[in-house]
Symmetry: C2
Subunit: 198 residues, 2 copies
């Protein structure tokens, strides 16, 4: 028999493992058997801790949301000023993508139609939460004078999200051949010119 674990710890472990699997195969390729195996258990054991497949995906999304939001908040706290916060955030996204972390994939495929309605609306909320956090940083930038006041913060926040999204696709498709950090550095210059003072 495998190592026993109380259900709270097991849920946590499985949610993280599920997120990793989602990163590799997407929700389409995700299945209970692989999840169970990845934590050294048998498929039926998953049902000791989750109501079913959707419940697992829901928990994985919670993990995802916490990680992403933490990433934004950390960048905001650590940087000296709002623009540097966005730059830091962008480079950290790139690093995560390079290391194959789960965050990037989900961010990119969040929009997949089909699938469970509740799951979709959850990913929608997560994305909006992300964007509104970035939007807040943009507003900070306007207060500090780094960002032009005629820039619409919501628009700039969506543009920021767009800096990384196509790069995620290419990275996923081309792997190492696509130097995402280098791309991000170049596109950051464009973004700064777009929102900053000349």
């Amino acid at each position: 028999m495998s190592q026993r674990m109380n259900t709270e710890a097991r849920r946590e472990q499985m949610a993280r493992a599920a997120l990793d699997l989602l990163a590799e195969r997407g929700s389409e390729g995700f299945n209970i058997a692989d999840l169970a195996e990845s934590v050294g258990l048998v498929p039926s054991a998953v049902y000791r801790h989750f109501e079913g497949r959707e419940d697992v995906l829901d928990a994985a999304l919670d993990v995802f949301r916490d990680r992403v939001y933490r990433l934004v908040d950390a960048a905001r706290n650590e940087a000296e000023n709002p623009l540097m916060a966005l730059e830091l955030l962008l480079t950290r996204h790139a690093k995560l993508i390079e290391s194959g972390g789960a965050v990037p994939y989900i961010m990119a495929s969040m929009n997949a139609p089909g699938g469970h309605a509740a799951r979709r609306s959850k990913t929608e909320r997560i994305f909006r939460g992300y964007v509104s956090r970035v939007e807040a940083v943009v507003r900070d930038g306007q207060v500090s004078g780094q960002v032009r006041s005629d820039v619409d913060p919501a628009t700039a926040a969506l543009l920021f999200a767009g800096l990384i999204q196509p790069a995620i696709q290419l990275r996923h498709a081309e792997g190492e051949r696509f130097d995402i950090s280098a791309h991000v550095a170049r596109v950051w210059d464009l973004f700064r010119r777009a929102v900053g003072h000349d």
Copy 2:
């Protein structure tokens, strides 16, 4: 019995229908039974014209690719100058998304991991083809002097793709509430400032 049709016409019809279904439900939710019904046939009839599900998806991607590329080429031909070509292309993307056309969805979910390897590499090629067409327009812009020469065309092309991608997500999630044409107009100003002079 349903209307008979020769296999070439039927394949074409089914490929288009498949693309519409993909737009609604994604590849995860796409199934042969619904496809058959949407053209007034019975599931097994699909196999008269396609080898199987993957073959259908492949054909749908061909339709998708042709439409997208045509969109870029048309914008390039119709506009007076490269920057206006990009603006026209962007607004047409927005229109397509508003009308619920299939193009936007696939563009957005193209990166979904999992799934058939051949299909993935096909979507990758399509995306790269799209980006390199946009890249060519950017180069034109540099030649004509509208785009700064220190801008990397590949980077700008990816940024351009990023203008529309997050908007697709929001549109998909929020529907009518998200005014994508208005957003696109605002983000275009940012893009022009990023790549243009002054």
